[in-house]
Symmetry: C2
Subunit: 420 residues, 2 copies
């Protein structure tokens, strides 16, 4: 009798987005004439940069000729892409990362989840790791750990016993503080989804020091690093490897999704330094780089040659300029949104180094109550903050990924909403 | 202190291909002038079909315009691709498979491995599944189960206690017999890599009946189904779902890699019927379709829109004709190879419904001894059968994925090799 992974049954039922869809459908049925504006979705809207398209056209053509045809590629990705990444994203920022420490992936989400395969599963009482996540949090970090057995079933708040929740609130600037208890794996996301907060150099150094002191591993999600505004100074690291000591305690996830409009084209990468070790059952150090290499050769299908050529073009002069243009476009949306909301009396966070605004609901409304009001009065769909965790209650998330005209129309509609 | 997955340490060190590379390097150093022919690699050599390239060119272009740009796609793949697959690969063969039972993937290998995530991990004594594999075997089935803790450390033959090995030999036509003991998960690959053997309708029906009787799951790898020669009659099923009862006991893996030359372009799919259940810890049935949907939405990055458009073109009239042409080309290689080897006195299996020939070594030589001789005398690189498992000893695998001129040259060289 084939047995399933019972841990899947602990997962709460992906409440957030289905519930949004349910409420929107109910509203649309009653008001079929309403023109809804979706401000909740973290998906890009602008076309793929021309440099990437030209490179992929050529790559498709390559696949049509005997002498340029590419079959199975290397498990960790093509050397030319790994080298471009190491050079531009790390060496030019002074980070000591080699091309063979870069593993090309289909995107952050998959790697975040699959990475747990090389780490001990189960809860801490049975040899597993103590896992710390922020609250609010990108749900993938939590759900993949539930699937791996790191937790008990969800409690009445939707939180899982066994996880350490690092509360991120307006009081601490939405930057998680070092916990009093030990944590073996710590997920950090900066710039943050959903809050838009960033971790500065000093705070990140404290995390690196903590991790090295405790043999912990930082899982640093930098999917939004290209949205950091360097004109504000160099106080915000783009990579965890800008911090001394990170090579022995940190894995970094990156994506071309938001930087180059690759959400539908799919490519990202994960960095695992050769100096990074975990411990086996008897406490001996084992390099994670070798374990991940083995995972990738055995369990992972490589990224399409065509897509890897598209990603390589991100690092050409034209590609860099076009990607910068995309980021500037979305961040101008964020600026317009933040200005309009602030003028309107809303208390806004984020939107300065991230394409997300994290906004307090007016009048102490719950996230869902304000969601309903925004939908009914302004025909705007936001994301209720409580969907990202307990500390998200009383907030909503707005995304700057939209056409300019849509953003302006949304802000126009909001201007008639009574806030006080 | 972060703990690793100790099961990875049980893996033998990917002996086969590194050892081939070592011996080839040593030979090349001594004989730098030798023109080696690689007949060991299961990677395609012919260009991608024009229909797929045209579709991908258009898809790249789509990504360049606001009104045709595609961001995040559905977790299980686009409906248009799933529908084309359900129609052409299943309904037209009389199989009761719906589009929403088809999950688009990056390829068989990844899905074979990741599928274990929704099943109980650990060995059978601790709530895990009893896993049966054939011998010889595609190593991914074994290694991914070792990683999931289904086995003990490898024994002196490289076999893992805890696995049930189904011996496939010339005596049973390389088709595994139903085991005397229970097995919860059973990997079947037909047409087979490496032996080229196929499971006929009657034999597959016995497996389906066994699985339904015991609540087992068949993991049916049909990556090479397009190589089945239907002119030989309809006795060899292309899909496990051609067998009555398979919807309640089988998962099927498919790939465009060998059928459409997608080894570097990357796309495949996995079928999980809604009628298929596993059991939870207290014996209740749980649908695997829902668990896999949850796995895919949480842990999997979707396949590129561009690549999915390329795969869709496989089902157009032009695409089908071009893919058929590829298969005919490689199978003509196989026919030429089989004729030449047989004329030469070799005992050959496979090569009739699969692009692989499974050949007995002459004079009772071990697989590695003959590998060395073939390299030294004919400058041909084969794959030693023993690398696929104990029952592969005394065999070698030759691949028909090569240019015609290369195949002819290889057979010419072999004709001077003394076999008796």
């Amino acid at each position: 009798m084939a047995r399933i992974n019972d841990h899947y049954l602990k997962l709460s039922r992906g409440y957030l987005f289905p519930e949004i869809a349910r409420r929107v459908a109910a509203f649309t049925e009653q008001h079929p004439e309403a023109e809804l504006i979706r401000m909740g979705i973290g998906d890009v809207t602008e076309p793929l940069p021309e440099a990437c398209r030209v490179a992929m056209m050529k790559a498709v053509d390559d696949q049509g000729r005997h002498n340029t045809f590419h079959g199975y590629g290397p498990a960790a990705g093509y050397a030319w892409l790994r080298e471009a990444i190491a050079e531009h994203d790390f060496k030019l920022r002074g980070c000591d990362i080699d091309a063979d420490e870069v593993f090309i992936s289909h995107g952050c989400k998959g790697d975040c989840g699959h990475l747990l395969d090389i780490l001990a599963s189960g809860d801490a009482a049975h040899g597993g790791n103590v896992v710390a996540v922020t609250d609010p949090v990108y749900p993938v970090y939590v759900d993949t750990n539930v699937m791996a057995g790191a937790t008990g079933p969800a409690d009445e708040h939707g939180e899982y016993p066994g996880l350490v929740y690092l509360r991120c609130t307006a009081e601490n600037g939405f930057v998680p503080a070092i916990p009093g208890q030990k944590a073996d794996l710590i997920y950090l996301c900066s710039p943050n989804n959903p809050t838009g907060a960033v971790i500065d150099r000093a705070a990140l150094k404290r995390w690196v020091d903590y991790a090295n002191a405790h043999g912990s591993i930082l899982l640093f999600d930098a999917a939004y690093e290209s949205y950091i505004n360097d004109d504000a100074g160099d106080d915000i690291p783009h990579s965890v490897y800008e911090i001394e000591g990170a090579r022995t305690c940190a894995i970094e996830f990156r994506s071309f999704s938001k930087r180059a409009g690759f959400t539908g084209t799919r490519c990202g990468y994960t960095v695992i330094p050769k100096a990074l070790v975990g411990r086996d059952a008897v406490g001996r150090p084992v390099g994670l780089h070798g374990l991940w290499q083995r995972h990738q050769s055995t369990k992972n299908s490589t990224v399409s040659y065509i897509v890897q050529r598209g990603a390589e073009a991100v690092y050409t002069e034209a590609g860099r300029a076009q990607c910068d243009g995309l980021v500037r476009f979305y961040m101008e949306n964020a600026r317009l949104m933040r200005a309009a909301l602030t003028a309107q009396g809303f208390t806004c966070f984020g939107g300065e180094h991230a394409p997300y605004l994290w906004v307090q609901t007016p009048g102490g409304l719950s996230s869902w109550a304000f969601f309903d009001r925004l939908l009914a009065e302004s025909h705007i769909i936001a994301t209720p903050g409580s969907g990202f965790g307990r500390s998200g209650e009383g907030y909503f998330r707005l995304s700057a990924f939209n056409a300019r005209a849509t953003v302006l129309e949304a802000m126009e509609r909001l201007s008639t909403l009574a806030v006080a």
